[in-house]
């Protein structure tokens, strides 16, 4: 078994060096395809992070009746907090509401008219931040049912629906494009490796004639394919690392509003995907290419 492994690895290395032009062509194709895959993965991850951010902005606002008791308000807020997919519940008092309104008008350069009124016309409100906008209707309904505290829930369902339609479509589009590109990468890489194997059909033929078992024919090629994949993945990651600094600045400029640590996830995911795809495609490509010469 150890001799078999040594033989296979040795033959794989020999195969790589003695067909260096073909090997480098396959590696170059592998690098280009993995760069394409990694680049798209980064863009789609960024897109999804952006969509998550917009969705996290969805909140349910309920106006509180003037004169509702503090205990009941706390009770309603606790109940809302206990619901699934609710991120945070905050209370905005009448004074805070006016302050916000004033700040808002000031920012827009409009005259503040609230001073003219002898009383504060703005209601206090309960604001519920949602982790997932899908529960919007459910939370809104629950708040509406607390009639003694809640005067009215702002009807935002149509806006939420529109947002969800847009974000879901974009997510789907991102996934579909990523899937199509992954499929393209898969076939191009498999085909390139097939060409490299076909160029050595004679070697395989001789091995079969002298009585080599299928395993002795197959595994050196599979190891060679894995080697090409590994080399391609390492070159790809090196190129990405070189591009990381300028790229991350662009990403930061684009997505600086994002609250999450976007960068770290991408580095880990891209490394895993590039290494995994390279090795798997190299090995699989060789495996299926050699298979057509075996079993006879």
């Amino acid at each position: 078994m150890i001799r078999f492994l040594l033989f296979s690895v040795k033959r794989a290395a020999q195969g790589f060096w003695r067909n260096i032009v073909m090997s480098l062509a396959a590696t170059a194709t592998m690098v280009l395809m993995l760069l394409l895959l990694a680049g798209l993965l980064i863009v789609v991850t960024g897109l999804n992070a952006g969509l998550d951010y917009f969705e996290s902005k969805v909140e349910v606002t309920a106006f509180v009746r003037d004169g509702a008791s503090a205990e009941r308000i706390t009770e309603v807020m606790d109940r809302a907090r206990a619901m699934p997919e609710v991120a945070d519940v905050t209370f905005v008092s009448k004074d805070e509401a006016v302050a916000r309104f004033r700040a808002y008008n000031e920012a827009r350069g409009q005259t503040d008219l609230t001073d003219v009124l002898p009383w504060n016309p703005l209601p206090a409100s309960i604001e519920v931040d949602l982790a997932d906008p899908l529960v919007y209707a459910q939370v809104a309904k629950a708040l509406e049912d607390e009639r003694d505290v809640v005067e009215e829930v702002i009807e935002n369902q149509s806006v939420v629906n529109a947002l969800l339609t847009v974000t879901n479509t974009m997510r789907l589009a991102g996934t579909v494009v990523l899937g199509l590109v992954a499929l393209t990468v898969f076939f191009i890489v498999i085909n390139t490796i097939r060409l490299a194997v076909v160029a050595r059909a004679r070697e395989i033929e001789i091995m079969r004639l002298v009585g080599a078992s299928d395993a002795f024919i197959r595994w050196p090629f599979v190891f060679e394919g894995v080697f090409v994949g590994l080399l391609g993945a390492l070159v790809t990651l090196a190129l990405l690392a070189l591009a990381y600094q300028p790229l991350s600045q662009v990403m930061f400029a684009l997505f600086q509003v994002l609250p999450l640590r976007f960068g770290e996830f991408v580095v880990r995911d891209v490394t895993l995907v590039v290494m995994g795809a390279g090795i798997a495609l190299g090995g699989l490509g060789s495996y299926v290419s050699v298979r057509s010469y075996l079993g006879r």
Binding site: E205, I206, M207, V210, S213, D214
Partner: protein, 253 residues
């Protein structure tokens, strides 16, 4: 290497079908081969080659010589009938036993089938390496067969530096290195001039004298006529003649 033969328990077919005292190394019983295209390459061929024989297989192009050889090395399976090589029914072999069968057959072809980036010794050693033979066994085995074919001095040369005769002797050395029961040579002199052809024939005769059965397909009438060995003639998929010491008739060109 020869230890592997213990795995091939004598099957009922070799004992039962031929009552002859000599065991055939190759036996074809009513073998018919029809290709998927509908072309019948062999029709009800019967052929027995006892161990130690030297047999010429002659016939015009398309007579079925190559098909017969493909059946023997199990590159093709018979449509009907039985092909037995070294005591084994090739059609009944499991996939993983096919390589074992091929190690008992040494094959030599018109186009040599050598790897251009390997030296003479490496080409011969390759046959053992790819069957998992340990290195300490490989070296003496390669030296032995190279001395049999007379290529000890050229061991380190690449195929591009060799003459046609030397290339074919390398291929024969490779065929011999597994110590096969039978050497199957498909037009081994097809690419060689008459003098070199004779060299190759002499070498195959010597190997036969050392105890290996030889089956040689050829167009070379001079050789066949001069040697007075057993001649099996194929025409249009039928065995039309099978005689010892037969001459190569003009009609089989």
């Amino acid at each position: 290497m020869t230890v592997t033969t213990s795995s091939s328990a004598p099957s009922a077919t070799t004992e039962g079908s031929t009552a002859a005292p000599i065991t055939p190394i190759v036996a074809l019983h009513d073998v018919t081969k029809v290709y998927p295209t509908g072309r019948a390459a062999l029709s009800e061929v019967n052929l027995f080659i006892p161990e130690g024989d030297f047999v010429f297989l002659v016939g015009p192009s398309g007579a079925g010589k190559s098909t017969l050889i493909k059946l023997l090395i199990r590159d093709e399976l018979p449509t009907s009938g039985q092909v037995i090589v070294a005591g084994q029914d090739v059609a009944r072999l499991r996939g993983r036993d096919v390589p074992r069968l091929r190690r008992k057959i040494g094959t030599v072809f018109q186009d040599f089938k050598l790897l251009p980036n390997k030296s003479v010794a490496e080409n011969v050693a390759f046959a053992l390496e790819v069957t998992g033979t340990p290195g300490r066994v490989i070296r003496p085995a390669v030296e032995r067969v190279l001395s049999i074919v007379g290529l000890t001095a050229q061991a380190k040369q690449l195929p591009a530096q060799l003459s046609g005769g030397e290339l074919q002797r390398t291929a024969i050395a490779r065929a011999l290195v597994h110590e096969p029961k039978v050497i199957i040579a498909d037009e081994p002199t097809g690419n060689l001039d008459p003098l070199i052809s004779w060299e190759i024939i002499q070498l195959l005769l010597r190997i036969n004298e050392l105890g290996t059965t030889v089956l040689m397909a050829t167009h070379n009438a001079d050789v066949v006529t001069a040697l007075r060995k057993r001649v099996v003639a194929l025409d249009d998929g039928h065995v039309v003649r099978d005689e010892i010491g037969g001459a190569y008739h003009r009609e089989y060109w």
